[in-house]
Point group: C2
Chain length 227, copies 2
DNA sequence: ACTTCCTTGGAACGCCATTCCAGAGAGGCT
DNA sequence: AGCCTCTCTGGAATGGCGTTCCAAGGAAGT
C-alpha cells in the first residue's frame, strides 16, 4: 500500500502518514471531534484528498492512529514510584491527564482502538497488577477491572469537559449543575439532591485518584498479598 | 415548541416524539450507530423531515432521548436483593445487559447525556451506597467511582461487541484476539502474552460481576461499616 | 363559512467522506 | 541520453448526510 522511504527532498516537506496524524491531532485538539475533516486537513497540509488517502485508508483509521499517538505519548514516561500501587497510580494519572488534554480521545477509546491502543494500556497496568501479589489466574480479570475503571472515569470526565467548551469557567459550570441537581424532584432524586453540594466542591483529578485507591484497596481486600 | 395533545385520529397514527424515539431505538438496534439517518427515519415513519424536526430539535437530541429511553427501561425494574450490595449488583447487571443489548448506547453515555440520563443512574447507585454505611461526606466520591466503573466496563464490552458484528461467533472472535495477543512482541507485551489464554476463556458478564465485587470490597475496606 | 394555527412532507442547500483519474517527478534500465 | 515504471499527488466528481424552508393540509374556535 504505502511506505515512502528513500526519496530526495522537495520544495515542501514530503507528505507522510506521520505528518498527517500529527496534523489531525492538532486539529482535533483545536476544534474537537467535529474539527477534523478531510477538507480542512487538505487545506492545512496544502494538498488534495487523494494524497491523504494514499497514506491513510479512511477517517476511522486516521482517528485510531491519532488516538494511539496520544496514548503512546502518555504511556512513554516510565511511571515513577517505589511500589506497584504507586506506579499504577502514576500511570493512571498520566492517562487521565492525557485524555483531559485531548478530550476527543475518550470517544475513540470506547470504539475502534481495541486492536492497538488498548493492549498498550492493558500491558502497562497488568505488569504492576502482577507485581501486587494478585494470584496468577486472576491477572486478566483484575487488570481488566483497573483498565475499565481508568477508561470509564477518563471518558466521563472528558464528556463533562466537552459540554463545557474550551474557554468556559469550571467553577461556574459546577455551580450551575449543582443548582440543577438541587432543583430535581425530591421524590425521584433524594440522593442526588443531598450530594449536590459535594459535587459543587469536588476536584476531578483528586476524585479520580480516590477512585484508583478504592479499586486498589479492593484488590488487596480480595487478594491479600500474603495469600 | 411542540406537544400535540387532543386531536382526533387520522388515517395513520399521529406522529409524536414518543413514536419517533421508539422508531429510532429500533433502527439503532437493527443497524447500529450508522443505521439511524433522518432519511431512513422518514421512510419508516412514512413522513418528511420537517415533520420530525417539529418534534425533535436535531439528531443529537434524538440520540439522547433514545439513550434515555433504554436506560430508563433498564432502571425501571426495582433491583431485588436483601443487602445494599446485592441491590447494587442487580442494578449494575441490569445496566450492563441493557448496554449489551443496545450497544450504540455506550458511545452516548460518554457524550451528551449528562443532562438527564447520568443523574438517573447516579441516583440509583447512590441510594444503595449511602445504605452501605459509607460516611456521608464520601457519598459523592464513592458513588461516582461505582458509576464510572459500571459505565466504563459496559462501554468497553459494547465496543468489543461492535467490532464483532451481529452474527459472528464469539468464541471464534476470542480465539482470534487471543492468538493475536500471543504473537505480540515478547519484549513489549510480556504480560499481555501470559494472560492471552485467560482472555480466551473469560466470560464478559461474570468478569463484570467480579469487577463490581472488587469495587464493593474496596468500599468496605476504605470505609468499614462499623466506622 | 371563515380564520387561525398546529402540523405535515417535499424540495433544496451545503457539507462531508470517499473515489477516480490524469499526470508529475524520481530512479533504474538500456 | 532517452525511456519506462512506479510511487505519489491534487483536482474534479459522486452520493449520502443533517438541516432548513416553505407551501399547503386540516382540525378548533368563532
Amino acid at each position: 500500500m504505502s511506505q515512502q522511504a528513500r526519496r530526495s527532498p522537495r520544495r515542501t516537506e514530503a507528505l507522510s502518514r506521520e505528518r498527517i496524524v500529527e496534523a489531525a491531532v492538532g486539529m482535533l485538539d483545536a476544534a474537537g471531534e467535529g474539527g477534523l475533516t478531510f477538507r480542512a486537513l487538505t487545506e492545512r497540509l496544502a494538498t488534495g484528498p487523494g494524497a491523504i488517502y494514499w497514506h491513510v485508508a479512511n477517517k476511522g483509521e486516521l482517528l485510531a492512529a491519532a488516538t494511539d499517538a496520544v496514548v503512546a505519548a502518555a504511556l512513554a514516561a516510565e511511571p515513577e514510584g517505589a511500589s506497584p500501587r504507586d506506579r499504577i497510580r502514576a500511570l493512571a494519572l498520566g492517562l487521565f491527564d492525557a485524555v483531559d488534554a485531548h478530550n476527543w480521545v475518550a470517544a475513540q477509546l470506547s470504539a475502534s482502538s481495541w486492536q492497538v491502543t488498548t493492549p498498550r494500556i492493558f500491558e502497562g497496568v497488568g505488569r504492576h497488577v502482577s507485581a501486587m501479589g494478585v494470584p496468577r489466574e486472576q491477572w486478566f480479570t483484575v487488570t481488566s477491572v483497573v483498565v475499565q475503571y481508568i477508561l470509564g472515569a477518563a471518558a466521563q470526565n472528558a464528556a463533562n469537559a466537552q459540554v463545557l467548551g474550551p474557554g468556559a469557567d469550571r467553577g461556574e459550570f459546577l455551580a450551575k449543575v449543582s443548582t440543577a441537581w438541587e432543583e430535581l424532584d425530591p421524590d425521584d432524586y433524594s440522593f442526588t439532591r443531598t450530594v449536590a453540594q459535594q459535587m459543587r466542591e469536588h476536584d476531578d483529578r483528586q476524585q479520580f485518584l480516590d477512585g484508583i485507591d478504592l479499586v486498589l484497596a479492593g484488590i488487596t481486600a480480595v487478594h491479600p498479598p500474603a495469600g
